[in-house]
Amino acid sequence: MTRRLSIAPIPPGALDLAGDAVRRRRLLQGRMLERIERGGYEEIIPPTFEYAEVFVRAGGDEVADRLIRFLDLDGQLLALRYDFTASVARLAATKLSDRPTPLRLSYAGKVFRQDPAREGRRPREILQVGAELLGAEGAAADVEVVRLALELVRCADVREFQLNLGHAGALAAALAALAPDQRAEARRLIDRKDAAGLAAIGGGGEGGGALQALPFVIGRREALDRAARLAPDATGAIDRLRAIDAALTDEERRHVVYDFGEVRGLDYYTGVHFEIFAAGAGAAVGAGGRYDDLVARFGRPLPAVGLALNLDALADALP
């Protein structure tokens, strides 16, 4: 007799978790939230759905296709929570607008994303833990968030991990010198690490040299010196990274790599940004950075820096 599978279908990309998969997620989440709370962060529970426009306003047009959207009773377009940051920014500008700064907020829960090109073959929900530090623009705030990210990953007992730290300002001048369509192409090539393709685009005006070479500068502290020689007009960005490097402990520095080749999220980040990689996971297990323009889009100019970790990836990383 064949089993009737159609009696209880599950949509593509929806996750059923049980047993150790759940125990491990809850264990990691508990440890992480405890660490975040010790850092003075207040946990919030934002709504599971918002007007779709809120996520697009925060994340840009490319987010629109990736939302799981549906209609409200009055026909307005809603979306499941694409990220927590949009809701945090909205909250900071509205309900929490009278709170003194710096404002430290944290969260844990699912985000919902889909990639139309993948037709739901990948999970469409991800369990995240994260924190946002609002109203602080100095290097000390960047250091606080980078340090928190490192400690949270350490909570997950992964064998080996690395935080790749970059700065949105490093490539800004070189990219700005390109025509808009060339700029999009250059970013795509940088994202794929295609040096030959990038060389074929050429151009970049005065920043041309930086455009060709800077995206491939990756390394420890000495990478900052290399970057400074290649991109004299990116001093501000590099000085900020130097200040962070100086503030980190030797142990923390062992896990930090300076990386000028990350162009994802450049429409979003305005300062430092990072991705975290762990042995046994095929994609980044966490990301974060500074987005000083974001909260202002909801009516309250407020610098901000934050991070989010992918608990599913960390819990499932091969031992």
């Binding site: 295609d194 990756i218 095929g282």
Partner: protein
């Protein structure tokens, strides 16, 4: 302690011979002939392990991290919309992905407003191309012998790779439009590239010099 080898996914089929020749020139030889039935074949110096898979599976292995890197055609990469690094084009495996039809079958529209049927191994790219062109078509996904589809009335048009165009001519097919220029590229898993940077850089440099 020697680190574990980097796993390299290689596409069986038309790209395999030139890929192995390039690896050999770069100093990386499989320790066993390709006829082996082993899944993972170490290189003679043990720094790499080769994995022979179907071409369309290379992006899958590399994107997930099951393989650290691989060699694949841009046809299967774009079809899979794989999120991987593409640091190096290898200069071989060049061909084009085209729309073709029988000489007597018109393009881009059929008489009487008939909705064209298009047979292909690349349904996603085919759908994207016709959607972009504003042409409504029905797509028929097949896994091989695409060029016979019009002869057997399975489809009006096909989307497939052409190299010299001989197969098309032998099946009385005419090229109508180019969708994509295809070539072999090295693909690298994003996380692996970050965590094993020096080893990837070394290997890419050796491959670049051997091209």
């Amino acid at each position: 302690m020697t680190p574990p080898p980097l796993t390299v996914a290689l596409a069986k089929g038309r790209l395999l011979e030139p890929t192995l020749a390039l690896l050999r020139k770069a100093g990386h030889e499989p320790s066993e002939p390709t006829t082996t039935r082993k899944l993972l074949v170490p290189s003679s110096d043990g720094t790499l392990a080769f994995l022979y898979v179907k071409p369309a599976d290379v992006p899958v292995y590399v994107e997930s991290g099951a393989a650290d890197l691989g060699v694949a055609g841009t046809d299967v990469l774009r079809e899979a919309a794989a999120d991987v690094l593409e640091p190096l084009a290898l200069g071989f495996g060049a061909c084009r992905m085209v729309v073709a039809s029988a000489g007597g079958t018109p393009f881009p529209s059929l008489p009487g407003g008939v909705t064209p049927r298009v047979a292909t191994k690349y349904p996603r790219l085919t759908r994207a191309f016709f959607a972009e062109s504003g042409l409504g078509v029905e797509i028929i996904t097949v896994s091989g012998a695409v060029e016979v589809a019009p002869l057997l009335n399975l489809s009006h048009w096909i989307v497939d790779l052409v190299d010299t165009g001989r197969t098309l001519r032998e099946n009385q097919l005419v090229e109508r439009a180019t969708i994509l220029d295809v070539g072999a590229v090295v693909v690298v898993n994003r996380a692996s590239h970050k965590l094993k940077l020096e080893r990837h850089q070394e290997l890419l440099k050796a491959l670049q010099n051997a091209r």
